[in-house]
Subunit: 417 residues, 2 copies
């Protein structure tokens, strides 16, 4: 596929946008449920396509973690199907009035939710993103252009073909879910120039991909970047709860962006708290790295370097820093954090409020695990990812975050003075 | 100023961001009122600086319209001062809870408004943008980096120096309102690379500037692009009201983005309506351009070319097209419009609703002038401009649109299962 062919393809996406934007909710839900059924019915076809990708990845010598993200099985296909059914059950954001008011001259103003138009999703290994993103974009009235990683090419192509089959059956344009059929990076650069056709790009992946998008995109980008998440254990924290929360935040799923990477401990409880943390994490095989004071209190752990404090380990490693007070904790997070997720464990309402107002990360938690910064967990129903771009979607992006609003003004002949 | 000096300057802006983000509302309002006073007191200084810019513009042979936009006088300085006082009176968006809910596991979730951080404003001739943008950004807790056009350089520099004097008096960092002291385009390109320091760029100006931003910016851009605004006169429109609204939309201030450029007339009333329009606009010296049917009904007007339908005249010119029905009107606007402002004049509730749901421009009006798509007129209090980027600010951007939200989660020890 060359640049001209790509543009032709995305012109079709743009052409479908008004139709998809104004589909009745019932039609959208029916299509989503049928898509779920089709995935279940064709699981063998999907597994076959996935096996090509897996073979290729093994040949290329990609890591076990990578191959695990790439791998599909019957259970994972069932999860994709269920996700589509969940999205079908969520309320339709399109046409909802966000707010309404009246002006002194009698004009009735309201803000109405509308789809963004054409959304490009650029992602890496996980084939489930294909289905999740397609479902969320479709339900929110958007046309989606999918550009997955080359490693998942066969899986993605098969998944999209199945979803498109349902579109055709329902007399809808296949371009509502467009797939870029060439896995080369060159064609991605071409795609990022089409600002007259694509309204928004959502990249999901590692730092390399984010820098690449920033460099090449002429289209607005809402990044889904790394999470260097920190938990601050205040002097009034309940120790047993704190240990349980930190354990959950680090161990329950260490390879994800809302897992904790740094622990800050108030100096007044460090001597009591750190040995407990060490003994719990020794059992869990979590490697601790500490500043000099932490290393003194719990000898035998590795010294943390300056680089550690801003590293997203995505692994069973945790850095520990002892702080004088909450002000130092806030400064530390401002300096090293990535604006993703931070938590304070405290019994002090005052310090909780200080922490909440002092930090502007996408999610600030009090006495709860960082793992809750997730669309499903926060009650958004589903998410396309977690925005780290401080635009009007910051944090988990659900259906509402895939829309914008237009002003609707109803008058009876008003003119401007 | 070179690239390294620029980066040093903007590092200072970024450093001030947390302080400005958390200023008490009272402090912000006090500073804004003092800034208004300072502008009034120093009007002679401002006029002197402005006279340099005007002399230079005249020497360069710039157009009268351009020089008019550039020109300051006592009345315009008073308007700038009043705008600051207005912004002081508006409610502070920072810290406001947009919504709150509870999860089955007891977590209390809310979304809290926070500033975006550092906002770069890139604009052209009008010096009042300096004061308006600085005031709105300051009130919404943002640090602003101002990069005005070279033609207004002396005026802008003097205005910023006066605003900064008030910051110093109140022991606030001058970098809260940063001014790029070099009017070259090269330094603008350097500025647009600083995605680690600037959160958002808002350009205000012509199409050339918009394309430039798209090409060079690594920072998210919310464009304030042209308005090719259309009014559709439905068959059930009240003729006298329709004439009054169109006259207002074209003539009241033809040089602005929400002035009307295209009129679509339902074929059933064209013969009655167009001669009236012609006679009114002959008095107002508005040039009409029409499709073949319009030219037949009102002979003597110029034939519109394909290019006319998508042209923002910013002048006393209006294109007229006769359409079969509302569906054709909607298709026409989708094809030629710029997603800015569209209006329908009708007595039919059904057609009003069809028009509202059929078009996703930033503002859709029923029986009112397009000139109402303006932050002040819609009740937002003030605006930094009208976004034509379909992000989470679409249409007039007031204080709320200069913020984003973070999730705040309050728990009592919850961990994720």
């Amino acid at each position: 596929m060359n640049k001209i062919q790509l543009e032709k393809l995305i012109i079709q996406s743009k052409k479908s946008a008004p139709l998809i934007a104004h589909l009745p909710t019932k039609t959208k839900n029916k299509v989503l449920v049928e898509m779920a059924k089709t995935l279940r019915k064709n699981f063998k076809k999907i597994l076959l396509a996935n096996s090509y990708d897996i073979k290729f990845a093994e040949k290329k010598g990609l890591s076990c973690a990578f191959i695990d993200r790439l791998l599909l099985n019957k259970k994972r296909i069932e999860e994709m199907a269920k996700a589509l059914e969940n999205v079908a059950r969520l309320p339709d954001p399109v046409g909802v009035l966000v707010s309404s008011w009246k002006r002194p001259n009698g004009l009735k103003i309201s803000k109405m939710r509308i789809p963004l138009g054409v959304i490009g999703i650029v992602y890496e290994a996980r084939p489930n993103v294909t289905v999740d993103a397609a479902g969320l974009c479709f339900k929110s009235g958007n046309v989606v252009v999918l550009r997955g990683g080359s490693e998942a090419f066969h899986s993605n192509q098969t998944l999209v073909a199945l979803l498109q089959k349902v579109l055709i059956k329902n007399k809808l344009p296949v371009s509502a879910i467009t797939f870029i059929p060439t896995p080369e990076r060159k064609i991605l650069i071409d795609m990022l120039q089409l600002s007259h056709l694509i309204d928004l790009i959502i990249p999901r992946g590692g730092e390399g991909l984010m820098r690449f998008m920033e460099k090449h995109s002429k289209i607005p980008v809402i990044k889904h970047d790394k999470g260097v998440c920190t938990i601050f254990v205040d002097e009034s924290a309940l120790i047993s709860k704190a240990i349980r929360i930190i354990e959950n935040a680090k161990v329950q799923r260490p390879g994800v962006c809302n897992a904790v990477e740094n622990i800050l401990v108030h100096q007044k409880i460090a001597k009591k708290f750190l040995p407990l943390l060490k003994s719990i994490f020794a059992k869990q095989k979590v490697e601790l790295r500490g500043d000099s004071l932490a290393c003194k209190i719990i000898p035998g752990i590795k010294k943390a370097t300056e680089k550690d404090w801003s590293t997203e380990y995505l692994d069973l490693i945790l850095s520990v820093h002892v702080v004088k007070n909450i002000a130092e904790a806030i400064s530390f997070i401002r300096k090293y954090g990535s604006l993703h997720t931070e938590a304070i464990l405290t019994s002090s309402k005052k310090n909780a409020d200080l922490f909440i107002t002092g930090l502007d990360s996408s999610c600030i938690l009090v006495n709860a695990s960082t793992r809750f910064n997730d669309g499903g967990q926060l009650g958004l129903g589903a998410e396309v990812g977690i925005s780290t771009t401080k635009l009007h979607a910051f944090g988990p992006m659900g259906l509402n975050e895939l829309t914008t609003t237009k002003f609707v003004v109803r008058g009876n002949g008003q003119v401007r003075k």
